[in-house]
Amino acid sequence: MAEIVLRQSPLDHLSLDARAVAEPGPAGVVAGERRFVAKVNLRGDPADEAFVKVAKGALKVFLPTTPNTVDGKRDRYALWLGPDEWLVIGAPGTEGRLVADLRKALDGIVAAVTDVTEGRTVIRLSGVHARETLAKGCGLDLHPRAFGRGRCAQTRLGKANVILHQLDDAPTFDVYVERSFADYLWRWIEDGASEYGFAIVAEPIMAALKARRATR
């Protein structure tokens, strides 16, 4: 797997892992990069039963038809992006299989399967002040009464286009950002969160923290 070693995420040049902490402590905002998460863009007509059925079969995940919602399991889920568009998320390295399975299953059905894994990265943002940090640059109402766990939205954050996905009530958000904007957005988030106490954590810690919260 030589080339895997050689893969670089768009934030590697900031050497976040070197600055990462094992225990975020009192930090109001904890953030880190989720590298190489599999992302597959799926287009098709939700009114076309064949499409929905086949896609579900191939993904083992329902394609949400309720706007701005997410459906699926921990390591495989689909984000609603538009009336005929979804972003399918999978564990790192699974994009090839995902694309192949979908293309095979959808053969003969009008749909589009596109691997966008490399085009975007994910910044995970968590903590009691995560919401305020996002609100500094996002016009969406992120209040629990308006936006909550399992919700997603394509919107603007600072001057970058992003997809927001709220995973839990910590709250924890996954921010999907176009790779070329990742450097800007990270700096923007770190600057905005600094007043709340900001800690960087590496992916394993991120997962652990999330699990810990889940058990609470």
Binding site: E3, P10, R43, V110, A112, E132, S180
Partner: protein, 999 residues
């Protein structure tokens, strides 16, 4: 402490336990936490704070808050200095340093006061009538005028402080934390709604902080403390003190400016943002912005010591400050009676209260006489004598019609005149929201009439001055707003307060003059009643004309205390009713907002994103000079050692032509197109035909706008029968994507095509040069690379240096070239592998500049450089790409228009300067006649111009009238006074047959 000569030992909402030292005009004073600069100065007996805008008359503190027209100071020093701060809004902190503005050498002795003596020469708009001779001299006159104008000094250093901005949403936004606003917030909060309560002062409470009164049978201040405590305990209620709602925009979007650190000494501000702008989307808005007291317009009404009655009262009650030793109160309404009582209670001897009304409120009058204060009914102050401080007031009886004076003059010695000319509801935000105003005779002021947005005004802001009524209105509005958002039943119980019966004010807009003094309407801009009369005489009788001609209401206070007086005096002068004169529209902001706060964090490194490619870190390491292309950072050239741009580019070009070059082409736009009708879409948006393109091949395409002008270009590859990969220009990616979606969704909705942007999915390294294929052969075992199996304009999948890659055989350089697309995360790995393996060929990274030279040698155009939105494919000599047989494509009809068929259109040509060493200026114009005097007829311009290392001579591309028919001609090219001659040629200078790029 004793230094504070006019501070009472008890009372007020200040913390006497701590003493704060500050300086004003270099002199040291002391005050306490809770003080504003104004209250602290008055506590030290300082009234004289500045000089006026035009006549440089001595000026004092008039108000106690946002309405202050006079007391503007330069706050802080060095990089932290700030001009024109209202002393009444500047919270005192230890070490605060302030100075008067607009006076030299000092506020006591000011050279500009000379203007006062020449005052007669400076009526309203005098500058429109003079300074016209001689014509050229205006800049000289202007030099003096500019230095006379302006108030404070702009900082001279970059601002060291940070600012912040944020979005917020709520069911109910309450603007103003006075009694009505508090009642509204409580009602809405109790119902469970999401509430934001914003108040401009450091402490919530508004008029309750300064006034007395009882609520629910207890002192109002006690009720206030409970109310704020309750609000603080509500999870969904956010209370923002030091936060001014400054703007009310469309769709209930409001701006709030919050001051986070201005009240702290600079040392304690470190790390935190100084100010924050809240952008609030509110379900409902409750405007509880209160009312602003009006001054009376009488001679000498601008002398230091003449102040608004409420201000005098606030200084006494809230700050325990005696505004003077001996006061005269003059009013045309009831409110100032309480002021007189409070003043005398605070230890100010109140000589007399003059009430313009013949009929005075009996109960109040009695309380005054019990306190030993004379009430002079039907009387007014007609002149205030004094210099840097008022020394006496001239009292006269008013005639029945208010325009004449009766009886003898009384001169009452005093050092303070507290004035109340009635109240103007603060309708600024309501007016900004688009609401319409109505003139209310009863209160002699404008009140909200017709709403345009989901808001309601309550309390004094709508002319309800009675405490009980204001509380009730607030509570009702808060409950209703919450209910509208789905919380509570819409009802609320208002706290009880003792109501008062009110005798209507007597508006006397211009107190008759006893002499020849100046009576000021706009104190900041030195606009007098006489100026307004003059404007009316000269026909500037529309209220907007009045404002602009006299500048009344145009100062930093935007006329908060002066607008209504000015209107009324204008109405009087023109013999019209006030409603007929109308009012001016209130513009945001309510009070001035710091530029930095509006910019927030969008400054410095966060001003605009820099888009980076996967190989960017390598370029940085290599010492690349970057070029900004849109938001992208693209390598411009790679200087070695001390190389100049020219030297580096020559070397990079030579490398590509003779051996091997490598370029980061990742920024090109890439769109994945899938669906049964994909080819149809390409046929529509490109000028050429796409149906016949085989899988495995690619083709160059031009996109036009409907007017036939070139809009973008790029190479598109067929990945499958229903699957294409389109590339666009770097700058055009987003534009083209939106363009395609627009055609699909709005014009061809039945077509089954899906578009996905994959611009950043792929990192692209382009290798070009005679050795490109050799290098590929080493790194790419699984693609047959010879020209037959992998011809020009084809693509193949395979691996390069072990990385899964899609390779395009396209060339923008004219050399045999391969564009290697790999997943972005492996772009760096690919680049490094190519650099290492290519070393034997001295592989040379080249930037956009070299790329431009190489493509120009081949006559390849760059959209945006050879084109500017006025160029057709024909102009570029690219008719070959315009499908003659195609029934339709975007731009086809546009091309058929008369003007697009003119034979003398500007057409792309090559230029060879007569001096082969001379590189023409890009943008240089081609003259029709080198000898012609200006205006010289021009026939085109140089679009691209370079030194060619390959041709070892200069060359250029140009657009030239009828150029294609003029090959061989020599034309004069002009730029910056220099005319050069160049020969017109075919726009291709290298490998005309294209053997190299096909080979």
């Amino acid at each position: 402490m004793t230094a504070q000569s006019h501070r009472n030992p008890t009372g007020g909402r200040i913390d006497r336990a701590r003493t704060l030292g500050f300086t004003f005009n270099g002199r040291y004073y002391e005050g306490h936490p809770g003080d504003t600069l104004a209250s602290a100065l008055l506590a030290n007996g300082v009234h004289l704070v500045g000089r006026s805008f035009k006549y440089h008359r001595p000026r004092g503190i008039v108000g106690s808050g946002a309405e202050e027209p006079n007391a503007l100071v330069q706050l802080g020093q060095g990089a932290l200095t700030e001009p024109n701060v209202r002393a009444t809004q500047a919270e005192l902190h230890d070490g605060l340093a302030a100075a008067s503005v607009n006076c030299w050498p000092g506020v006591r002795w000011d050279i500009g006061a000379i203007n006062g003596l020449l005052g007669g020469l400076f009526p309203a708009g005098f500058y429109y009538k003079t300074f016209m001779w001689p014509a050229r001299a205006w800049r000289a006159y202007e030099w003096f005028i500019r230095r006379a104008a302006g108030l404070g000094l702009a900082p001279r250093e970059p601002d060291p402080e940070r600012y912040d901005g944020t979005h917020a949403h709520c069911d109910v936004l309450v603007a103003g934390g006075g009694p009505a606003g508090l009642a509204a917030a409580l009602a809405a909060g109790r119902a469970g709604g999401r509430v934001i309560l914003a108040d401009e002062q450091a402490e919530i409470g508004g008029s309750l902080l300064a006034g007395g009164g009882t609520i629910d049978g207890r002192p109002a201040r006690a009720w206030l403390d409970d109310a704020t405590a309750e609000l603080a305990g509500m999870a969904e209620v956010r209370v923002l003190p030091r936060a001014t709602v400054f703007g009310y925009y469309d769709h209930n979007y409001l701006g709030i400016a919050e001051r986070l650190a201005d009240h702290l000494p600079p040392a304690e501000r470190a790390g935190r943002a100084r100010q924050r702008v809240w952008k609030v989307r509110a379900g409902r808005v409750v405007l509880a912005t209160g009312a602003i007291e009006r001054p009376l317009v009488f001679d000498g009404n601008d002398r230091p010591g003449v102040m608004l009655a409420t201000a005098a009262q606030a200084y006494a009650n809230r700050w325990a400050v005696r505004v003077g030793d001996r006061a005269v109160v003059v009013t045309n309404n009831d409110s100032a009676y309480q002021t007189a009582l409070d003043l005398s209670e605070s230890g100010v001897a109140v000589a007399l209260l003059a009430d313009l009304r013949a009929e005075v409120p009996a109960a109040l009058a009695q309380r005054l006489s019990r306190a030993g204060i004379e009430v002079a009914a039907g009387s007014a102050v007609v002149d205030a004598a004094g210099g840097t401080r008022v020394t006496s007031a001239e009292i006269r009886r008013l005639g029945a019609d208010g325009t004449t004076l009766e009886g003898p003059a009384r001169h009452v010695p005093c050092d303070v005149i507290a004035v109340s000319g009635g109240w103007s509801p603060a309708v600024h935000l309501f007016s900004q929201s688009g609401g319409r105003l109505r003139w209310d005779e009863a209160i002699a002021g404008f009140v909200p009439d017709i709403s345009r947005q989901a808001e309601v005004s309550v309390g004094a802001a709508r002319g309800t001055f009675d405490l009980a009524a204001a509380l009730a209105e607030g509570a009702r509005a808060g409950a209703a707003a919450a209910h509208a958002a789905g919380f509570g039943d819409g009802t609320a119980t208002a706290p009880a307060a003792n109501a008062r019966e009110v005798i209507a004010p007597r508006p006397v807009w211009r107190v008759p003059s006893a002499g020849r003094g100046k009576a000021f309407v706009d104190i900041q801009n030195d606009v007098t009643a006489a100026d307004i009369a003059l404007a009316a005489r000269e026909g500037y009788s529309a209220v907007e004309h009045l404002k602009r001609y006299t500048t009344t209401g145009m100062g930093t206070d935007q006329g908060k205390t002066s607008n209504v007086n000015a209107l009324a005096i204008l109405a009087h002068a023109t013999g019209t009713a006030i409603p007929a004169v109308g009012t001016t529209t209130f513009r945001p902001p309510y009070t001035p907002v710091t530029f930095g706060a509006l910019a927030g964090r969008t400054v410095g490194p966060l001003f605009d994103p820099a888009r980076l490619t996967a190989m960017h870190p390598w370029h940085v390491q290599a010492g690349t000079r970057f070029e900004d292309v849109g938001q992208w950072k693209r390598p411009w050239y790679y200087p070695r050692g001390s190389e100049t741009l020219h030297q580096a580019v020559a070397r990079e070009c030579r490398a590509v032509r003779t051996s091997l070059g490598i370029m980061d082409a990742s920024t090109l736009g890439k769109i994945d197109i899938q669906g049964p009708d994909a080819a149809k879409l390409l046929d529509l948006v490109y000028t050429n035909a796409w149906g016949g393109l085989e899988v495995g091949r690619c083709r160059y395409g031009l996109m036009l706008k409907e007017d036939g002008m070139v809009f973008d270009d790029g190479v598109t590859a067929r990945l499958g029968p229903q699957h294409f990969h389109m590339t666009t220009t770097t700058g055009g990616a987003a534009r083209v994507m939106a363009w395609l979606e627009e055609w699909l969704q709005t014009e061809r909705p039945h077509w089954r095509v899906y578009l996905t942007s994959v611009t950043t999915q792929w990192a692209v390294a382009a290798i070009a040069g005679p050795n490109a294929r050799r290098l590929m052969a080493e790194l790419c075992p699984n693609i047959a690379l010879d020209a037959i199996d992998f011809p020009f304009m084809a693509w193949r999948d395979g691996t390069v240096a072990g990385i899964a890659a899609r390779v395009f055989r396209v060339s923008f350089s004219g050399e045999s070239a391969f564009e290697i697309n790999v997943p972005s995360s492996q772009g760096m790995a690919l680049w490094q592998a190519l650099m290492t393996a290519g070393a034997k060929y001295d592989i040379t990274p080249y930037g956009t500049e070299a790329m431009h030279v190489l493509r120009a040698e081949k006559g390849f155009v760059i959209v945006g450089q050879e084109t500017d939105g006025t160029v057709t494919p024909g102009d570029l000599g690219m008719d070959w790409i315009v499908g003659k047989k195609k029934p339709d494509f975007v731009g086809r009809r546009g091309l058929a228009r008369a003007d697009c068929k003119r034979p003398d259109r500007k057409q792309l040509v090559g230029l060879l300067p007569q001096d082969p060493k001379e590189v023409l200026v890009e943008g240089a114009q081609i003259m029709a006649d080198a000898a012609a005097p200006p205006p010289v007829p021009m026939e085109g311009h140089v679009t691209s111009s370079y030194w060619s290392a390959t041709l070892s001579r200069s060359f250029a591309l140009a657009l030239l009238k009828g150029g294609r028919a003029r090959h061989g001609q020599t034309v004069p090219v002009h730029a910056y006074g220099k005319t050069s001659w160049a020969q017109v040629t075919e726009p291709i200078f290298y490998d005309k047959e294209g053997e190299k790029l096909r080979g």
